[in-house]
């Protein structure tokens, strides 16, 4: 039925099975779009956010997916700038994942803000001291870069390739890819950092506030590092997941091992700096702002375990695992380690967004809880469904894994 669109030389599931996979996700997407449109039409009163929990599930989601999406820029950076050729097999999938993560983050942000029609005001009246301005500018530029990076992939579809103009454009664009990779790396560095800075500059929230290094709070650098550590792991986990779902080998084991190694090394550096940062914060930054740090962890749901979990089981453990070559060559362990890395980053983003807001600032403030409304969850689900759909369609119709054919051939 759609064979003419499927890349040559690869085997894809029958169309009916593809549809059986797509349609439920499409249903989820529609449900989520309904929830999101309610939020746009009726207003944000549809959410369970409030004046005290001004940010909720969505911002948490944004920060997390953008950290995961870091795989795109970082793989591109390693491949095109650092000339790590062994990452070639995953660059396409990294780009698609990046595009999914960033575009969904932007879409969710548009639902999240009260007056989405005024989003362009940030460009028009920019407050250059605001981390959010930096994020907005970089995200906008970077989504353009990602689209440009994704374009050659689309043009690689068999039907587009038959058109010489597309073929040549893809060829020429591809040759200039290092430029985009460099721009992407530059932009990503800043917005990953600014997302970290977003909370780090909050003087009024001493739980999140950090001292400045240069003009940025330390979370700026920690976010960059943690995102760079999470990106490769995300690419690894998703690629492995796709392998499992499609029952195919898509990349060689050494690619997984390389991704794991990069993730592990960066995670180790990140952990070291994070530990130093945490100690400085507990002993200096927070008490000097009038907040004894132990108090943050006195709430039953958010005890010190959360800090411990972030650093040890979701930090140190996967870092040690990934630094071990034996683990890297054992796929289940490698995937476990990568999942732990992702869990750590997820937890870190959770702590910075949700825990920061639930902790009291004034002495008579209560500790708050927040449960998202179905509309928020639906929008969240729509993002996941959108990602699954875009990835599934890309995987089916675009040559995402250059090694796939060869591996299939060798395996025969």
């Amino acid at each position: 039925m759609d064979e003419r669109f499927i890349p040559r030389g690869v085997q894809r599931a029958p169309f009916w099975r593809f549809m059986a996979w797509i349609i439920p996700w499409f249903g989820v997407l529609l449900w989520g779009l309904y929830g999101a449109s309610l939020c746009l039409y009726e207003g944000l009163n549809q959410t369970n956010m409030d004046n005290r929990f001004a940010f909720g599930l969505w911002i948490y989601l944004d920060l997390t997916v953008i950290a995961f999406g870091a795989g795109a820029f970082f793989t591109g950076f390693l491949l095109y700038i650092m000339k790590r050729r062994e990452l070639q097999p995953v660059i396409n999938t990294a780009v698609v994942l990046g595009l999914i993560c960033y575009s969904s983050a932007i879409m969710v942000l548009m639902v999240d803000v009260g007056q989405p029609l005024r989003a362009w005001f940030t460009f028009w009246h920019p407050n250059t001291h605001s981390m959010l301005t930096e994020v907005t500018f970089c995200l906008t530029c970077y989504i353009v870069v990602l689209i440009i990076e994704y374009a050659p992939l689309v043009l690689k579809n068999r039907q587009f390739r038959n058109i010489p103009r597309f073929l040549v454009f893809e060829f020429e664009l591809h040759k200039l890819m290092p430029v985009f990779a460099a721009i992407g790396a530059f932009l990503s560095f800043f917005h990953q950092g600014s997302l970290g800075g977003l909370y780090g500059v909050l003087r009024g929230r001493p739980f999140a506030f950090r001292e400045e290094l240069g003009i940025w709070p330390t979370t700026f650098f920690l976010f960059v590092l943690s995102a760079m550590a999470a990106g490769p792991s995300f690419v690894l986990v998703i690629t492995r997941l796709v392998e499992r779902l499609s029952a195919k080998r898509l990349v060689r084991q050494n690619v997984f091992a390389t991704l794991g190694k990069i993730s592990g090394m960066l995670l180790t550096i990140y952990l070291g700096l994070k530990s130093v940062d945490t100690l400085v914060w507990i002993n200096g930054t927070s008490p000097s702002a009038g907040f004894p740090a132990f108090e943050y962890y006195q709430r039953a749901s958010f005890g010190t375990w959360i800090l411990f979990a972030e650093i040890v089981p979701f930090g140190l453990v996967p870092a040690l695992m990934l630094l071990n070559a034996k683990v890297r060559n054992h796929t289940p362990l490698l995937v476990t380690a990568a999942l732990l890395v992702l869990a750590g980053v997820t937890l870190n983003r959770f702590v910075l967004t949700i825990q920061t807001l639930s902790l009291p600032t004034l002495t008579f403030d209560p500790f708050l809880t927040y449960v998202p409304s179905w509309q928020e969850v639906a929008t969240f689900a729509a993002v996941i469904a959108y990602g699954v759909l875009l990835y599934s369609i890309s995987f089916r119709y675009l040559p995402l894994f250059p090694q796939e054919r060869e591996i299939a051939r060798i395996e025969r």
């Binding site: 007056q115 029609l117 005024r118 005001f121 028009w124």
Partner: protein, 714 residues
């Protein structure tokens, strides 16, 4: 130069490109933001000349002076008339939004017939004439031996006099006033002094030791300006006020008092008698002066009953340590002038026996007739003659009313429907309510005549009943009167076949005040004070009132009456007091059992309709609890199996209510507090008029005794 088409096109193109580099298109783009601000769904602010008008707030008898800022003649904001010198210059939040009541969503547009089902109230419209005719028909065709009654929720007005005059012509005619603390206190003092018709005010501005038993002195018990004066007294360098507040409930007064005596629910009589005992024991001179000289009919009985209230027993009964009781007694006896005030809470009156004990203690302390204590008031004269006697609902025989008129309900609802129901004739009755809105009582009426909302008509404000001075002013109309509204006097005219104008009646009353020749008239605008004698006629005073002015009487200082008896003339009071030495078991939260205590803000918002904007302090902040919040001590809550924020059901013998649990470690364990006040949450919803509620039939008991209730998770 040759102008070619190509040249022209080039010029146009270049101009378009050039304009992009000018601010013009960008500024226009920027203005898009304004469009979102001025969309058709955003309400437009009123336009018109800005003016200032003066009036008096008529929402409660406090009668605060207000300055209304108006746009196009319509008031948009109220503030206290600050230049006014007569000790006012302050407004409560309800008074600040009094002008909003005219826009209340539950405002009735015309005479209505009420249809009430189990959980719903519906209205059918009726012409005013039809309504009048039906009421007149009910009056004329009423069964033999049934009477006409008026429940006047705001007695003391000129209109009240008219009601009484009308009822005096009916046989029988009952003039019913709320059976509230003020009435009970006066009764108790009259009992003790052997002198009827006493009217007393509280000279809190000069008190040194003030013991309040459930009296919300910081929460709307008196007008805000007097509360401010009370605060000033606390910071008085020479003889600062010491405010001791006894209340099982944690209220704003409990919080703000110098000392809070969290007495066990229902132990207020024991506390008063215990303090009396301490004062008499430690201060024989006082005892000698007031008790030993046999100013009591039953000295032996008095001493016997007091012996049941030793500090030890009272400490056990009230939960207040002995030494605290001793200190309080000592302060009352030594830090003079001292005074004990009981009741006055919007949640309901405390019982008569307690009032009798309070009267006795006040007499013992010598606070009666002393500056800083209880002073006689000189009540305003009434223009009507031959008036029906004042009674309470309890005085009316069961089944004896066939036509009932309820007036003043929009401001307060201190009479509950349950106590009225049994008084209605089983052979047919008609209940008429005059109220601008559907309220608790009018929702039970058969016909509602929509009276004008505040500031829509010249309403009489007779002054703060807690004050020692008496005052009179007019709430000047600031808003156009709504079509279809009916002044209660019009109904009265129709029934009595007369045609008196309210304004004339008011002027008659002013003339009576004028005739007495005492007091001052103060203008709100400039704060000027003029002696009453400077005004030539009632008309002149009327004009001053309309422009914003108030008449205040000079304070009265009467010596105490000579013959009084501490026990009053209540039969068997000694036995009833004695019964209170033993306490009922306190709710301990086991099996979810608690003592449920009603709370309410006592300002004008106590029960009437409030501005839609009041969501700010009921729902949008935690200033005032809503009817949906049950406040508990965490320990009590845990024993009941509920946690902070849980949805729960609280059940008493009379009904149940869905609530949200709110923990407060400052609350007395074993009790639970629930607001009975107005609540924008339920205002106008079906649930507001729901058939049963947890406090049904309990408002006539002391709110501090509470009711037993079960709390369980919903």
């Amino acid at each position: 130069m040759q102008v070619t088409r190509r040249g022209l096109l080039k010029f146009a193109g270049a101009s378009a490109a050039g304009i992009l580099f000018s601010p013009l298109p960008w500024k226009l783009l920027d203005d898009i933001a304004i469009w979102t601000q001025t969309g058709p769904w955003i309400p437009k602010v009123p336009r018109g000349p800005l003016t200032t008008a003066f009036s008096t707030c008529a929402l409660c008898p406090g009668g605060c002076a207000v300055e209304a800022r108006c746009a196009g003649g319509i008031p948009y904001a109220m503030r206290a008339a600050v230049r006014h010198t007569a000790g006012r210059g302050a407004l409560c939040p309800v008074g600040m939004t009094g002008h909003h009541l005219a826009y209340h969503p539950l405002r009735l547009s015309g005479a209505s017939v009420i249809r009430r089902t189990s959980d719903q109230v519906e209205t059918d419209s009726l012409s005013t004439q039809e309504a009048f005719d039906r009421i007149l028909g009910a009056l004329n065709t009423r069964p033999l031996a049934t009477g006409v009654a008026v429940i006047d929720q705001r007695p003391g007005r000129t209109l009240s006099g008219q009601f009484r005059a009308f009822l005096a012509q009916q046989s029988p005619g009952y003039y019913i006033v709320p059976d509230d603390d003020r009435l009970r206190m006066h009764e108790a003092f009259s009992n003790a002094c052997g002198k009827d018709g006493l009217s007393l005010g509280f000279d809190i501005e000069r008190t040194a030791t003030l013991l309040t038993i459930g009296t919300p002195v910081f929460d709307g018990w008196t007008r805000p300006a007097r509360t401010a004066a009370l605060l000033d007294r606390r910071h008085d360098a020479r003889n600062p006020l010491k405010l001791i507040h006894a209340d099982p409930r944690r209220t704003r007064t409990s919080v703000l008092a110098d000392q809070w005596l969290p007495i066990a629910p229902g132990s207020e009589t024991a506390l008063v008698l215990g303090l009396t005992n301490i004062v008499m024991r430690d201060h024989p001179s006082l005892a000698a002066r007031y008790v030993a000289d046999l100013h009591t009919s039953d000295r032996r009985g008095m001493l016997d009953v007091l012996s049941l209230f030793t500090p030890g027993i009272v400490a056990k009964r009230t939960g207040i340590p002995v030494d605290t009781l001793e200190k309080v007694g000592s302060a009352l006896a030594h830090r003079k002038p001292s005074m004990v005030i009981a009741g006055g809470d919007a949640a309901g009156p405390i019982d008569r026996d307690t009032h009798q004990a309070v009267a006795a203690l006040n007499i013992l302390l010598g606070s009666y007739g002393t500056p800083g204590g209880l002073l006689h008031r000189d009540e305003l004269p009434m223009p009507a003659t031959k008036m029906a006697a004042i009674s309470t609902i309890g005085d009316v025989p069961d089944g004896s009313i066939s036509l009932l008129i309820i007036d003043g309900e929009e401001m307060t609802c201190s009479t509950c429907w349950e106590s009225i129901e049994s008084k209605l004739s089983p052979d047919g009755h008609l209940v008429v309510s005059t109220s601008p809105f559907l309220t608790q009582l009018s929702a039970h009426a058969d016909i509602v005549l929509p009276s004008p909302a505040p500031y829509e008509t010249a309403a009489e404000v007779v002054g703060d009943p807690t004050d020692t001075v008496v005052s009179l002013s007019i709430s000047t109309p600031l808003l156009p009167r709504k079509q279809g509204s009916v002044e209660p006097i019009e109904l009265l005219n129709h029934l009595s076949g007369e045609s008196v104008a309210m304004q004339e009646l008011l002027k008659q009353r002013i003339a009576l005040v004028h005739a007495r020749g005492r007091g001052m008239i103060a203008g709100y605008q400039d704060g000027s004070g003029h002696r009453l004698s400077e005004f030539a006629s009632a008309d002149e005073i009327w004009s001053a009132f309309i422009e914003g002015a108030v008449w205040t009487s000079p304070p009265l200082h009467e010596t105490p009456a000579h013959s009084y008896t501490l026990l009053g003339h209540s039969p068997n009071i000694v036995d009833r007091w004695a019964a209170r030495a033993e306490g009922e078991p306190n709710g301990n939260g086991a099996d979810g059992q608690v003592i449920l205590l009603p709370t309410a803000s006592s300002d004008a918002a106590s029960c009437g309709r409030i501005s839609p904007l009041m969501t700010k302090i009921y729902q949008e902040s935690e200033v005032r609890p809503t009817r949906a919040h049950l406040v508990l001590h965490p320990d009590t809550g845990r024993r009941c199996g509920v946690d902070d924020g849980d949805q729960a059901v609280v059940q008493t013998e009379s009904g149940s209510r869905h609530v949200t649990i709110r923990f407060s470690a400052s609350l007395m364990p074993g009790v639970a507090q629930l607001s009975i006040g107005p609540d924008p949450n339920v205002s106008g919803k079906k649930s507001e008029f729901a058939g049963s509620d947890v406090f049904r039939n309990t408002l006539s008991r002391s709110p501090m005794a509470g009711v037993t209730a079960i709390v369980r998770r919903a």
